[in-house]
Symmetry: C2
Subunit: 288 residues, 2 copies
Amino acid sequence: MDGQYLPMSEAKVSVLDWGFLHSDATYDTVHVWEGRFFRLDLHLNRFFRGIEKLRMKLPYNRSEIERILSTCVLLSGHKSAYVEMICTRGGSPTFSRDPREAENRFIAFAVPFGSVANKEQLERGLHVAISDTVRIPPRSIDPTIKNYHWLDLIKGLFEAYDQGAETALIVDINDNVAEGPGFNVFMVKDGLLQTPANGVLPGITRQTVFDLCSELGLSASASDFNRAELKGADEVFITSTAGGIMSVTKIDDTVIGDGRVGAVTRQLTDLYWTKHADPAWSTPVKGE
Amino acid sequence: MDGQYLPMSEAKVSVLDWGFLHSDATYDTVHVWEGRFFRLDLHLNRFFRGIEKLRMKLPYNRSEIERILSTCVLLSGHKSAYVEMICTRGGSPTFSRDPREAENRFIAFAVPFGSVANKEQLERGLHVAISDTVRIPPRSIDPTIKNYHWLDLIKGLFEAYDQGAETALIVDINDNVAEGPGFNVFMVKDGLLQTPANGVLPGITRQTVFDLCSELGLSASASDFNRAELKGADEVFITSTAGGIMSVTKIDDTVIGDGRVGAVTRQLTDLYWTKHADPAWSTPVKGE
């Protein structure tokens, strides 16, 4: 940050940065697996689109950002990492409330690769609860701008914990299933895949599932579904940069399918990880 | 922060604090006018309620917080100040994604008193534009928890600037007027005051207007109104800790009333500032 590389313990943002005080920021997270970024181009595209929509300006161009991200990973020493890039509104030296007067700031960091599901959960499938909390609607905040407005997701998460579940799904304004804290959701029914169309983050792993389906000859569509339809699915999985494709085997009190990781989920997961070494899908972390 | 008093330039929060990365935080802002906090009790009540609703725990009790806020003001040297207290989810030493494992943190700071409207705007009334952006609805985030989810308000603000206005109002999900970036709104029509009831922050200055109306024998109610009703008002004003009661004399292209600060607005504003020296409404900033 601010042109310096620091240990994570020293990476701090001013309390007066609007990125903190108004969550006036956008970000993206790409992961590195065995020394290679996965689909970095797609993450950078989304990040730059979000910055433009928020009317911010970065002090670095695309290739400079790529170099900074690589340097973060190399300095961290992690072979597999979770790499976050952030653009905040910044602050105004005069305490002005006018966002046009703020100096936008760029921050990037690399931490160890993390997953929504731990190893045991990946093998047996996650237990998810559906909350009545409504995801912030697109008329309030454009979900294609990846943002830190998570209080709805966090409320859902606490409600899920109260029910003994491991993570949460929240709904959209029509009471259809939307997404969870940091992930999209897919259902498989009679061989067809489906993921919510509206009011959700257009996740890169979600996009990747569509791409993998094309390659495997599977049919996938973006269209909304309700709780009952989700619980009646043959297979359910969630998708996130933090963990990839992760099976869900229980929703509220309903066991999904036969209660084990399904065949389609397994096929997609295997191909997903194979792609991490494919130069068409991944790029090496490079030194200066 | 962290038990230390620092110059503002050194007040920084960890990039990994969920208060930054997920805007998982609540806050409150009280102001000090000529050495006295204004309605500190009401601000502390709201702050503590928000913390409880977010299932956070503060490392300090109420009287300790009062002492910290006073110390911030005294060390800052400001006679009139804008004093913010923040509770963030904090971070987890293990990068856990589980908010229950985070250590909640308290931050407080004092900066010079700021206002939504500058001196000239206070005298002639603000020019406001109404945006189509919808305030994050209560089914997504409980507006009684004062929060930093401002991207909807900031979008409205940029749209207002595009139209040559000075600040913005955004709407609720039913297209009624909601609130603006950091303020509530009131209209006066035929001697009756009205402010939106639903989906808005229960502002302390908004509450203060109700209290002042009682004292002045004015009738005020919380009930929703649409754009046309607002534009047809005799007087319009906004309320915020950052500036108090501030007249609005133009909305979009419509001049409100006779285009000057109205009599009711002026009467309320005068009484509002008189109350700042009243021990029933204010408390002195105290040394240790």
